[in-house]
């Protein structure tokens, strides 16, 4: 599947999803629908690009693809649930650890030392347990995101930033041709937007509902930029030299 075809598929999903949202949420403006549906549709190209690469895709890129697909499925499901049932924050409790787990597993392949690779993977169940603990602590679904947002941001940005810096320091080639660089920039942008959107929206809710909604639209645009960077990352040229360690039980990225 070429880049053009992937873009075509994304555009088709964008239009279809946008049309569905426009008919289901008549109170939302067209440009807002366009932004939100675009943010969801652009989660597909990284997954499609990895699938198109087939066996040439590294394990890290494959898991980035799964991460993007998890986001796409979760966002679509959330919108369907919110349209029919209303509250969908328990769904976030389930999907959040899955999404973060996929990303951490992907990033484990980009670590240069086996201990760090292990620590990324061991952190996945710990993250899931902590998320459940936070949910139980928060009690009310509305408070859950106020706590889980900073928690996820801290964990994920620490993992992403550490990988970005450690790989950049050891990189001998052109850093802007590295998948981990673009994916890290995109994911950091996504998680940063994720954590600030709720408190800002809540703060603006008292002043103006339209402004509060605008925050989500801005987040959608930022998400589009983030996933475009991730898509760029998974299409980077494959590295010719392995960055794996020499220990026999470690796996190369």
């Amino acid at each position: 599947m070429t880049t053009g075809r992937i873009a075509g598929v994304a555009a088709a999903v964008w239009l279809a999803f946008g049309w569905w949202m426009y008919t289901r949420f008549p109170g939302v403006a067209v440009w807002q629908v366009g932004a939100i549906s675009g943010a969801v549709a652009l989660q597909l190209p990284p997954f499609l690009a990895v699938r198109a690469a087939g066996a040439d895709a590294s394990p890290a890129r494959r898991w980035i693809g799964w991460w993007a697909l998890a986001f796409f499925v979760a966002d679509v499901a959330q919108l369907l649930i919110s349209e029919r049932v209303g509250s969908n924050l328990m769904f976030i409790l389930l999907t959040g650890p899955i999404e973060d787990g996929c990303l951490l597993w992907a990033y484990s392949y980009w670590q240069l030392r086996p201990v760090l690779r292990l620590s990324f993977r061991v952190s996945i169940p710990l993250l899931a347990i902590a998320s459940i603990g936070l949910a139980l602590y928060a009690g009310e679904a509305g408070d859950f995101q106020a706590v889980s947002g900073p928690f996820r941001l801290l964990i994920m940005t620490a993992a992403i930033a550490f990988t970005l810096v450690s790989r950049a320091v050891n990189e001998t080639g052109r850093i802007w041709q590295r998948d981990w660089m673009w994916v890290s920039l995109g994911t950091m942008l996504y998680y940063a937007a994720y954590v600030v959107v709720n408190p800002i929206s809540k703060a603006l809710m008292d002043q103006s509902v339209e402004l509060a909604q605008l925050v989500y639209v801005v987040k959608a645009v930022v998400d589009m930029a983030a996933f475009l960077m991730v898509w760029k990352g998974v299409r980077c040229p494959v590295e010719t030299s392995s960055q794996s360690t020499s220990l026999p039980f470690s796996r190369s990225s």
Binding site: V115, R117, S119, V122, L126
Partner: protein
Amino acid sequence: MSGGNLLTVYIAAVLAILVIVSALGAALVIYQRRFLALHRDYTRKLIAAHEEERAYVAREVHDDALQRVALIQHDIGDWIDARREMSPQDRVTTQAFREELADLGVMLRRVAHRLHPAIIDQGGLLPALKQLADDTSRITTVDVETRLPALAEKVLDRERSLIVFRIAQEAIRNVTKHSSATRAEIGVELSPAGLVMTISDNGRGFDSGDATKAAGLGMISMSERARLADGSFNVWSKPGEGTTIRVTVPVNS
């Protein structure tokens, strides 16, 4: 930011740090265990290959070289007997040949035994240690005594018996080569911890607290072999006070 929000962010931050530190700690422990297991497996295979090679050479020496020496001795004996009229000079020369060959046979037999003590397979560890002590006392200036229990059955399997015997061989070799000792003792006793072998000498000793002296290749070899047998290895020594090594190996259940 309100007090409640500050608390939630604080909790999220603490939880995130806990997750990161726990993941790193768990990864370090897992990595260390895997590394040790790999190292132990490698050492075990190396020692097994070493023993196999020694057994092969011992077999070749015993089955081939020794047999040829015996055959040559026999042929020379027949040749001498067939020549009734031999000058005294020739008789002395041929007798010297026979004695040289007999010495060669003894030396080859000793080498074969040292390479692979067949007595371990036939009698077990204790007879092998007794023979080691007797051979050392006969060949060197060190008088080696034994203090062995009267055991009705073998308490160690073949693999562990060979490991303990090799440790004793290495220890006695150190006594004869480095210690300037005149007396040594090989003691074996059964304890709740397992079979305990103690080898002590009255040599010049060394500072066992000095890491550079205590970590010679022989010491490391003995220590590794003891670990392979799931046992422990300890050494006590002081300059002028001799040396004692103790090996404890669990017995067959």
